[in-house]
Symmetry: C2
DNA sequence: AGCTATTGATAAAA
DNA sequence: TTTTATCAATAGCT
């Protein structure tokens, strides 16, 4: 939909790519807003440009985390019902299937236990801070990355110290 | 873009709403695919119709969980840089700010500790299963919901037992 | 960032 | 669903 048809393949010219990204990004966001209103739907969009620029949309009636949680639930349901649709009865497949799930559970437990140990080693605190290149997402200076849900006093102290900022 | 212009407000006729949802959904998904290829971007979309029908898209180079994790990180960065942009220097705000963060950290720790205790009480296993109404998403019968990342042998046994399915 | 010629998406109808 | 008349998005320029 422009002065000429284009084929859908990566735009090699970085400037054109950036301009197209910007225009189409707002196009998609607008479509998402319209779908939300017209059809009373819930939509969550997360996107990153190839330079790491972040954009998102979420319908006003919900939030991104809720949508992701719901996604995980539904994905679980689909896995389950896919198994049902495979036409095998539970009797038949559970011997093998349960062994697989048991293994997965073991794996998950190991991860959880490892994290718990890490946590205990560090006095229950897992925050950290580091300088990152965020591809122009934030101001052209250092960015501080703190793990979500784990704001960390020590991380902030470390950050401040690293940047020669005096804390009370 | 049709035989007539429409205003962006909820479509009251359920049939029209459904048809419009279906068409616009595929429109957005197509746009997302194109943006992915044209601009070498990463896009994740999760959506639910007002009847609970689930659809999603994710760029091939990544997956929905990775995108959500990245979203959480970037959201953290934005909170941080928003504070920076407030024009207050760290020296000035840290006395109050750190107290607030310390409180948040305390809260988070309480939650984590509570979960850990719950886990220990139940022998390290947190899966569960329940019958749900999933709005026509799956077959018109019982659905099994298992908490993501916590597949649970016991939950499956319980489900099977509840439905008179014999397990080996 | 704005401006159009074009292509693309889709509302209404079949 | 499929078709088609229209409206909307956007590619190439400035």
């Amino acid at each position: 939909m422009g002065r000429g048809k284009i084929e859908i393949k990566k735009i090699e010219n970085p400037t054109n790519r950036q301009v197209t990204y910007s225009k189409r990004r707002s196009g998609i966001m607008k479509k998402a807003r319209e779908l939300t209103v017209l059809c009373d739907a819930e939509v969550s969009i997360i996107m990153f440009s190839n330079t790491g620029k972040f954009s998102d949309y979420c319908s006003p009636s919900t939030d991104t985390k809720t949508m992701f949680d719901r996604y995980q639930r539904v994905t679980g349901i689909n896995l389950w019902s896919a198994q049902q649709r495979m036409g095998e009865d539970l009797d038949g497949m559970d011997i093998k299937e349960l062994r697989g799930l048991e293994q997965n559970l073991d794996e998950a437990l190991k991860v959880v236990r490892h994290r718990k140990e890490m946590k205990e080693e560090h006095g229950g605190v897992c925050g950290y801070v580091e300088d990152i290149d965020d591809g122009g997402q934030t101001d052209p200076m250092y960015s501080c990355r703190v793990r979500p849900n784990q704001p960390n006093l020590q991380a902030i102290r470390s950050y401040a110290s690293h940047h020669d900022l005096r804390l009370a």
